[in-house]
Structure formats: C-alpha cells, structure tokens
C-alpha cells in the first residue's frame, strides 16, 4: 500500500474513533527488548506479537499520542510535497506547533513508533538521519527530487565520493558498469581504494560507511544488490566492532526490528578476519577491556550462530588481537589492491 494511503487511513481511523465517542487510541507494536525476536529463517530480528495501546483515555499517553499523530501529519506533508527532513528537523519543526518534544531522543522515538505502526521505514516517510555515507563508482543515477528530475550523475564525479542523502536514496539507477559493491569502514581506506583505482580493477562500487553503516547506506547497497544483482562485500577493521558492522549489513539492526529493515543476507564479510592478522603478518594490537566485552556480547547474539561466524569469534578469542584496515599499508600502499583484495574477492 502507498505510504500516503496508510497515513490517510490512520487519520480516518482516529476521526472515526472520536465520532463514535471513543477516546482515540493506537495499538503500537511493542518495541521493547522482550518483544524483539530473532527469526533464524530470515536471518534477522523481527517484532513479536506484543502490542502497546497508546490511548487518549490515559492522561499519561495524551501527549505522546498527539506527538505520534503530529509526526504522521508532517510525514504526509513531506511525502506529498516531495520534501525531506532529518530527524533533527523533526525535533525542531515541532517547536512551531502545539506538540513539543523535550529532546531529540523523544522525537526519534516517536518516529520509530510511527515506523512500527505503519510498517514503513522512516525514509519512506521523508525522514532521514543526520549521518551520511558516501559512494563512489561506475554508476549513473537520475534524481527524482522536485527540480532535479532530469539531472543525472555519474558517481565518479567527485574523488571524495557522493553523499548518500535523501536525493540519492530515491534516485533511479540509469547505467551501471560495476559488478560488485564493496562497503568500506574507514575513510582512509576508502580514499586509498579510489587512489589505487580499485573501482576499475575490481569493477566495484565503493561505499564508505564511516563506522556502523547508516540505514541509508544499507538501503542503497540493498537496492544495488536487488535491482542490479550486484554482490555485496564488507571490508572493515579486524576487530569485534568491524565484525558487527558487517553483521548489521547482512542481518539488519536490532534497533530497527520494528520495520522490514534492510538486510542483505548474501553479503559477505571479507576482512580483516581474525585469521588474516597472522596470515598477512599484519601489525596488531592486544584486545582491550572494551574489545573483550564486545566480543562477549557478540558471542551471545543469536545472529552469530552460523559456523562461519562462530569460527570468527572463536579465532578472536584465541588470539585476542585486532588490526585496523590501514595495517595493510605496512606492506606498501598498493598491497591492499595488489594482494589482499584480489585474494578476498574472487
């Protein structure tokens, strides 16, 4: 169903409740941890059956109910007018209306409520996060933004990459010479790969995730995977944090269990794997306390139960050592494109 239609129905439902003399209410899928379940079949988290009734008959819910309806209202306007707003915009926009948020955490949470209620990711509602990933590669897109309808752009236009903002997220793919997608954790490595012409050598579209990949970057990689059939590789630091960047791309985020979050089950973590540290004789560091703690958390995470992942975590535990992507430069600047990646991406 069209997003606008869903929003309209929501409004209609509330009006009807009021006309029946009822205090309007919404049944929101519960987003608490007790209601987040891992679905091994689909390899991702989903919400259970639990619902929370947000009802105006309860004085304590009155404010959050109004906020939810307001976010729906502003989303409908955004979508209809082809505009977008960041999560921070939403927080500030409310200032000029009767429903204020006490902080952005509150408005972010209401946006997530609406996502869960409609089963629609916020990007479809015209609401985007602040953080931007960038993309570089042999792909030409056509914008769908009002005023940019006929504009096309080849994503090699800037050696710094092109930001994956709302415009790019909703753009149409026109022409693609690439055969794969490589998501890269660090900015240094992203620049290195561009300089070493990895995009040509491997026919790859490079996406810089800047740490944990924002949903827009995952959404973009997902589209490339789905629409253009490009395999996705994830290239991170060799530590538990890097492993988890890959995992969220593959299985989706637990924080987004309430929507049909983007998950790319076929994506592969290519490194730096714990075994690579010895194999490629990379300069490495010992795990610190935080690393050990994170490794423990991952071990308990249901997403890490496949043989491949269990092996990776076991190896980390055995060595207790980590290496950054840049450690590959110990063997020369071109080592990553000459030796490492060719062996990883076959």
């Amino acid at each position: 169903m069209e997003v606008v239609e869903k929003l309209k129905r929501l409004g209609e439902e509330i009006c009807t409740q009021i006309e029946r003399g009822e205090y309007p209410f919404l049944d929101l899928p519960s987003r608490t941890t007790n209601n987040i379940v891992y679905d091994p079949e689909r390899g991702r988290f989903t919400l259970g059956e639990a619902k929370i009734r947000r009802s105006t008959s309860n004085l304590k819910h009155l404010r959050s109910f109004t906020q939810t309806v307001w976010v729906a209202w502003i989303a409908k306007r955004l979508v209809e007018e082809g505009k977008t707003a960041t999560l921070r915009d939403i927080y500030y926009l409310a200032e000029s209306y009767k429903v204020k948020f006490k902080d952005q955490q509150e408005s972010d949470s209401i946006v997530a409520d609406l996502e869960a209620l409609l089963g629609v990711p916020r990007e479809k509602l015209g609401i985007f996060p602040e953080e931007r990933a960038t993309v570089y590669g042999d792909l030409t897109i056509r914008y769908n933004m009002p005023g940019y309808e006929e504009h096309t752009l080849k994503l090699t236009a800037s050696p710094d990459g092109v930001a994956i903002g709302p415009a790019l997220t909703n753009a149409t793919f026109e022409d693609c010479g690439a055969e794969k997608v490589v998501m890269v954790e660090s900015g240094g490595m992203f620049t290195r790969l561009i300089e070493e012409k990895a995009h040509e050598k491997f026919k790859a579209i490079l996406i810089h995730t800047a740490g944990q990949a924002p949903r827009s970057a995952r959404q973009f990689a997902y589209r490339l995977n789905r629409e253009l059939n490009l395999p996705v590789y994830i290239f991170t630091d060799g530590d538990p944090w890097g492993a988890h960047i890959a995992m969220v791309v593959i299985s989706g985020s637990a924080n987004a269990a309430h929507i049909d979050d983007v998950a790319i089950p076929g994506a592969r973590w290519i490194g730096i794997l714990p075994a690579d540290i010895e194999e490629y004789r990379l300069p490495s560091e010992k795990f610190n306390e935080k690393d050990w703690k994170r490794l423990g958390e991952l071990t308990a995470d249901p997403r890490y139960q496949s043989p491949f992942w269990r092996e990776q975590l076991r190896k980390f535990e055995e060595t207790g050592r980590k290496a950054e992507q840049q450690a590959l430069s110990a063997h020369g600047l071109s080592y990553v494109t000459e030796k490492y990646l060719p062996e990883k991406i076959s």
Binding site: I14, V69, W73
Partner: protein, 496 residues
C-alpha cells in the same frame, strides 16, 4: 557562730528571687513589665465587659531607663483598692476562683517592684469610672509587703475617660526584647480577638494590633474551689475562715459541686460527724479530711468559671492574621486535672501567609488568653506537636500553624514566669485529641483539594491536546472538518 533567722515577706521573697517570676535579665524584664501591666488592663476590661482599647507606650528616659505608660478603657478598681491592687503581692481573694490572665496575683505588683528597685522612682496610677480621676504615687514597702502612697490627687475628668492609667520607670533592654514583645502583642489580639492594642516603641513608631471581633466574651464567673483542687494550706485557711460553722455547712458553703446530700454521705464515709464545729478540727483531722476529700468521688468541677476564646472569635483572629487556605478550630469539652477544670482549644491553619517558618509547622501557644512566647521547647504543646504523626495527615510540606489554648482556674505553668505549660496527662491528652480532630478535618480538605486539582489538570490536558489531535487526524484523512471533541473533553475532565 549563730545563725540569724529572719522572716521575709512575699514581696521580699520575690524581690530576692525575681528570676522566678520571669525577671531574669534586662531584656526579659522589659518584656515581663509590659506583659504584666497590659494583662492587668485586659483583665480589667473583661471584667467591665467592654471592648478593650489599650495604649502602651515605651520611651527612653536616659541610658537604659525606660518609661512605660499603659492606659485602658475599663472601669478601674475602686479608688480605695488602688494601693493594694498595685502595691501588695498576692492581694485579692484566694477563696474564690475564676479564670484570669494574672494568675499569681504577682503581676502588676511585681512589675512595680522591679521598676522601683531598678529606677528608684515611684509609679503613678490613675483610675476613673468616668467621674473624677484619682491619681496615686506608689511605692512598695518590700520588707512588709505593704503599699506606700507617696502622693494622692483628685482631678476633674474633662473628656469622660474611664479606665486605669499606669506610669512606671524601669531599667531594661528594649532592643533585645523587641522581637518577643512584638510577637507577644500580635498574638495577644489572637488570644483576645475583641481587644485592640496600640504600641508606641522608644523610636516613636506606632503599631496598632486591631481587633477581629466586635463582641466581648461573657466574663468568667467566680466559683468556689472544687474539693479535689485543694492543698493543705488552702484547706487550713478555709477552716480558719469558717471556724464557727458545722462541718456539714462548711462543706456546702466552701466548695462547688457539694450539696447537702453529697456532703452528708461524704462526711459519714470519711468518719466525721456532720455537726461538729469546724473549729474543733485538729491539724491531724484537717489532713485526714483532705485525704478523704481526695479519695471521694465528687461530681467533676464546674467549667462555667472558664472563659475559652471561642471557636468563632479564634477563627476570625487567625484568619485576619494568617489568611490560611484552610482553618479548623476545635474546642474540647471541659476536663479536669487534679481538681482544676480546664478547656483546651486547638486550631490548625494550613497554607498560611505571613509565617516566619515557611513550609513547616509553627506552634503558637496560649494559656488563659495570654500568648506564651518564651520556653517553647519544654511546653506540653510542643511535646504533642513534635511527636504528632503529621505524615499521615499531610502529604506535602506546607506552611502550617498550630494554635493551642488552655484555659483553667489554674494553668499548670512550670514556673511563675508563666511561659511554659507542664504536662499533666489529662492536659496532654486533650491537646492531642484536639490536634487530631483538626488534622482529620485538614485531611478531608486536602483530599478534596487534590481531587479538584486533579480534575483541573485533566481538563487542561484534554482541552490542550484533543482539539489538536482531531485537527491533525482530519487533515491526515483529508477531511474538511475535524470531528467534535467537546464531549470527550468534558467527560475526560470528570474522570478519576
């Protein structure tokens, strides 16, 4: 070495032990002098059944010597009584009882004595019942406890004034006592809501403490003592006074609540012959008689000799001064301790303006219509207030004022300074019961208030959010007009 024994008079005794009467320091003495003379005036007005207008004026003569004048609008004491009323200790009938402010008969005389010994100057007392004004210059012969009249004048009364005027000089310390004196005067018009007191301090500032009711309370009635309220000395004096009478007639005539039948039954049970003359009683017999009286169950003492402030008057006075959100005044039924009847009045005011303590419980104590401003911490009311379980009545801190008034023919003061009431169990219990009753009313009030607040809060929230929800939902649905939420607002506010 030979010890020298000498007899000292009552006045001499108090002169040597003036701290017993509360004249322990210059500042305390300043307060006491004003208090004693003012209370005499209020008693005089009450007896005369007039609304008191008392003008108190204090000025500096030189150094620490002050001149005090107090002028009231009563009818004065009979001219021939004046020297004794002011110049002799423990003057007055001790064989009859009624409630008055100055209980010990020390009051005016003690003030005069203190003034005389510290300033060396005689006091001037003028009285008039509306006719000629009689003016006396008075000293006290301390050793003999007798008044010394140094001068006497009779003047024409040109403007028809009636009442008593006292002028005296004493050494004191007003600046140190000022706080307590002002407190005392403010509270005096709470305890005597029908009185107006005007005070001019040494700096020439005039303060008027106005009345809040226009009706004088009915004056207390004199009664005979109750057989349970006696000690050996009193009984002995009564016996001496009624020497010629038979024991039966003595019992009936000397005591309240003792009729012929009661007296007969009592005397028989006690093993005395009803018809033996009182004069035949030996000292031993008097002790036995007292014992028997204490053990016999006489009807409880008569409370008509008591004059409580009254619920309406007390309420008016407290409202005028504190403007509370809630006030309840409780007057307990008459009760008895050691043969003395007493009545306790308790008031609780919630949400007071003008209290110093801010949020918390302030205690205002009164006894026989006089405010007690010193020694609060050893007072029975403080004891009750402190151990009282406030949290079961009041959930939020607030400015609360508690007023306790005990009136009795004999208030159980701890000292002759009359600042602090002792704690006979009967008195303590009555105060506690009164406080509980007031607080039960307070709790009912607060519960109601919370309900009203809650209702208001709900209404406000619904009024703010529901129309907004309807408007947004209508726009979402693409409707022209939002559905009406008037009923939901109305209903929502009423919910619990």
């Amino acid at each position: 070495m030979q010890a020298i024994f000498e007899e000292i008079s009552v006045s001499d005794f108090f002169y040597r032990n003036r701290e017993l009467a509360g004249f322990s320091s210059p500042s305390r003495a300043t307060y006491m002098v004003i208090r004693e003379v003012l209370e005499n005036s209020l008693d005089a007005c009450e007896e005369a059944g007039v609304l008191p207008n008392v003008k108190v004026s204090l000025s500096t003569v030189e150094g620490k010597v002050y001149r005090l004048t107090v002028k009231d609008n009563g009818f004065g004491v009979p001219v021939e009584e004046v020297p004794y009323a002011f110049g002799k200790f423990l003057y007055g009938s001790k064989f009859r009882l009624k409630q008055s402010r100055g209980v010990f008969g020390l009051g005016g005389a003690m003030a005069l004595l203190y003034g005389q010994v510290t300033s060396g100057m005689p006091a001037r007392v003028a009285v008039s019942d509306g006719g000629d004004i009689f003016e006396f210059k008075l000293r006290i012969d301390v050793e003999r406890n007798e008044p010394l009249v140094e001068g006497r004048k009779r003047r024409k009364n040109v403007n028809g004034w009636h009442g008593t005027f006292v002028e005296m000089f004493f050494k004191g310390d007003y600046p140190k006592a000022e706080g307590k004196i002002i407190q005392y005067l403010q509270q005096t018009v709470i305890a005597s809501p029908h009185a107006e007191v005007e005070f001019i301090d040494p700096a020439g500032r005039q303060r008027v403490f106005g009345r809040s009711v226009e009706e004088a309370p009915s004056p207390p009635v004199e009664v005979l003592p109750h057989p349970h309220g006696l000690d050996v000395e009193m009984l002995r004096r009564l016996v001496r006074r009624h020497g010629s009478k038979s024991l039966l007639s003595f019992m009936v005539k000397s005591f309240q609540r003792v009729g012929l039948a009661t007296a007969k039954r009592f005397l028989e049970e006690a093993g005395f012959s009803p018809y033996q003359p009182v004069s035949s009683l030996s000292d031993r017999d008097i002790l036995d008689l007292l014992d028997a009286m204490r053990n016999y169950k006489f009807p409880p003492p008569d409370a008509k000799c008591l004059s409580p402030i009254g619920r309406d008057a007390l309420e008016a006075a407290i409202r005028k001064m504190f403007d509370p959100d809630f006030l309840y005044v409780c007057q307990r039924p008459p009760s008895v301790y050691r043969g003395h009847p007493f009545i306790v009045e308790v008031a609780v005011a919630y949400g007071c303006k003008n209290v110093e303590a801010g949020n918390g419980v302030s205690l205002y104590r009164f006894a026989n219509k006089i405010p007690l401003v010193y020694d609060a911490y050893s007072d029975v009311s403080m004891k009750v207030v402190k151990r009282f379980n406030w949290s079961s009545y009041v959930s939020r801190p607030a400015a609360i004022a508690v007023f306790t008034h005990i009136c009795s023919t004999r208030v159980p003061f701890k000292t002759a300074g009359k600042e602090c009431v002792a704690d006979p169990p009967e008195v303590e219990r009555e105060i506690e019961m009164g406080l509980r009753e007031c607080c039960r009313r307070l709790k009912t009030f607060l519960t109601g208030k919370i309900e009203v607040e809650e209702h208001g809060r709900r209404m406000k929230a619904y009024r703010r959010y529901l129309p907004e929800i309807a408007r947004l939902a209508a726009e979402l649905a693409g409707r022209d007009k939002p559905p009406s939420v008037a009923d939901l607002i109305e209903e929502g506010g009423a919910w619990r």
